[in-house]
């Protein structure tokens, strides 16, 4: 696999952290900028602000999918999906803690959550490596990355559904009606599905990343549907952007499939093999 040029893990990590945080903070900054500008600009900016959080979530999903790929390649003995579950389990704990503990300092929330998630991931990774002795060299690093990505996914999509990442408004807009469960579960699927769906000896990173964008866009679309209830027009905007991104990357994924598959047949008998 080494002969094919791959995007390096560090690049994707930077993409996930910076893109994720940027998107999340834009949900906060855009309405402020709108208030300053006033007039029609204000309405426009408040409508598109939540979608930025979801875009940040997609960046985090792509990063997480790559981290899942690196660790799951070693064979975990229990299937790929479990790693997505633990990612979101750690992510949601850290996200809830980070956002609530900062109290009035709302802006610090996502950073605290990211750091908390990294610490939880580090501890679980350390235990997996040194107490449980799983003998996977990338375990500690990947567990940390996956947990951190999980917390950004939770915060990003929650912010997209609630319009802000202040814990008090998340409680009423996301927890009470159960949207957080959707973010939790669809986010986990979006992160684990790309590697799980591309599993095999001829798995390629490019195809996987396109699929990660597409599953992330599905999460964004569902968050948009939920946002119609909580935010009105902003939810419709998130939904539309999500569908457009999904269309683009679903198409790109299929292009890669046509290129990579042994043969794509309309129909036909099973080809003869040597055996």
């Amino acid at each position: 696999m080494s002969e094919i040029k791959e995007t390096s893990p560090n690049t994707l990590m930077a993409f996930g952290v910076i893109g994720g945080l940027l998107g999340i903070y834009l949900t906060y900054i855009l309405p402020l900028a709108g208030n300053a500008a006033g007039g029609p600009v204000k309405g426009l900016l408040t409508t598109i602000a939540p979608a930025a959080g979801a875009l940040g979530g997609i960046c985090a999903i792509v990063w997480g999918a790559e981290a899942v790929r690196r660790v799951a390649k070693y064979g975990l003995g229990t299937g790929v999906p479990s790693i997505g579950q633990i990612a979101m389990g750690m992510g949601i704990i850290a996200a809830m803690f980070g956002l609530s503990i900062v109290g009035q300092l709302t802006l610090a929330g996502p950073i605290v959550a990211l750091l908390t998630a990294s610490v939880i991931g580090l501890i679980i990774g350390w235990f997996a490596q040194n107490v449980i002795k799983m003998k996977i060299p990338v375990m500690i690093r990947c567990m940390t990355e996956i947990a951190a990505a999980g917390s950004l996914v939770i915060i990003g999509f929650s912010a997209a559904a609630a319009g802000s990442f202040e814990f008090g408004s998340l409680i009423t807009l996301v927890f009470d009606n159960g949207i957080i469960l959707g973010v939790f579960w669809i986010g986990a699927m979006a992160m684990l599905h790309p590697f799980n769906a591309c599993l095999g000896p001829d798995e390629k990173q490019k195809r996987l990343l396109y699929l990660a964008f597409s599953t992330g866009a599905i999460t964004m679309a569902v968050t948009g549907i939920a946002g119609i209830m909580t935010l009105g027009n902003a939810g419709i905007f998130t939904l539309l952007v999500g569908v457009v991104i999904w269309l683009i990357f679903y198409k790109k994924f299929w292009d890669e499939v046509y290129k990579d598959a042994a043969s794509v047949l309309g129909t036909g008998l099973i080809p003869k093999t040597e055996a």
């Binding site: 975990l76 003995g77 229990t78 299937g79 999906p81 479990s82 790693i83 579950q85 633990i86 979101m88 389990g89 750690m90 949601i92 704990i93 850290a94 809830m96 803690f97 609530s100 503990i101 109290g103 908390t116 939880i120 501890i123 679980i124 235990f127 997996a128 107490v131 449980i132 799983m134 814990f167 008090g168 409680i171 009423t172 927890f175 009470d176 159960g178 957080i180 469960l181 939790f184």
Partner: protein
Amino acid sequence: MVVLDPTTLINVLLIAISGTLVCIAVHFIPVGGAPAAMAQATGIGTGTVELAAGSGLVGLITASAMYAIPSVQADPNAMALVLAAGAMGSMIMLASTMLAGSLVYAYGVGVPFASAQVKKDPITGARQDLYMSKGTQGQGLPTVCFVSGIIGAALGGIGGALIYFVLVKIYATSALIGGSAAAVAGVFTMGVFYVNAVVPSYGVGGTIEGFHDPKFSRVIPKYALTSFVVSALCGILAILIGGGLI
């Protein structure tokens, strides 16, 4: 901020214990993973995490329904009743699943039940090795596996219910969460539950037959330790969520 008083410490300890219970429960449930789905290994033909989660979360449904009753909330001994409700829901789910699974092994696949790890069933004393077909690691669910699974489900149900019970009480008095205590505690319980169900599944590595499996005593101590530390950390975070806002 939270003052470090005995109640807080006990709550953290309870969450750590419940996480450990979930971890131990996973080892009790007889799962055979993909080989069992082909009747090539003893146990239920699915993965560790999801079966533990499936039964534990049904327990969470029954436990939270129990706790929602006003008379139960007023009862000072509510804890035992809520935990028992969790264990009951979880056991019923796993018992129905294993019974139906046995029906498929018996009449859909046509294999007698046999454990590969013991020569005689420790509970019924029935011979196992003769019924094991060639090239497999046993098949179906002999009585010892069934009973082990029930114990595991009970522990998982108690573990999930205990996290929920501790958190919902803390959050109900929190200024910010207040009326949404059930929703927030439920989500947090699910997070802790999954972390504690996935970690031990790496040691189980796909198949375990239950408490009579040599793997059981070999892997449990280090996983219980891991779960205890991780859950205690989660417990501290959980309590800070409720208390940090006052």
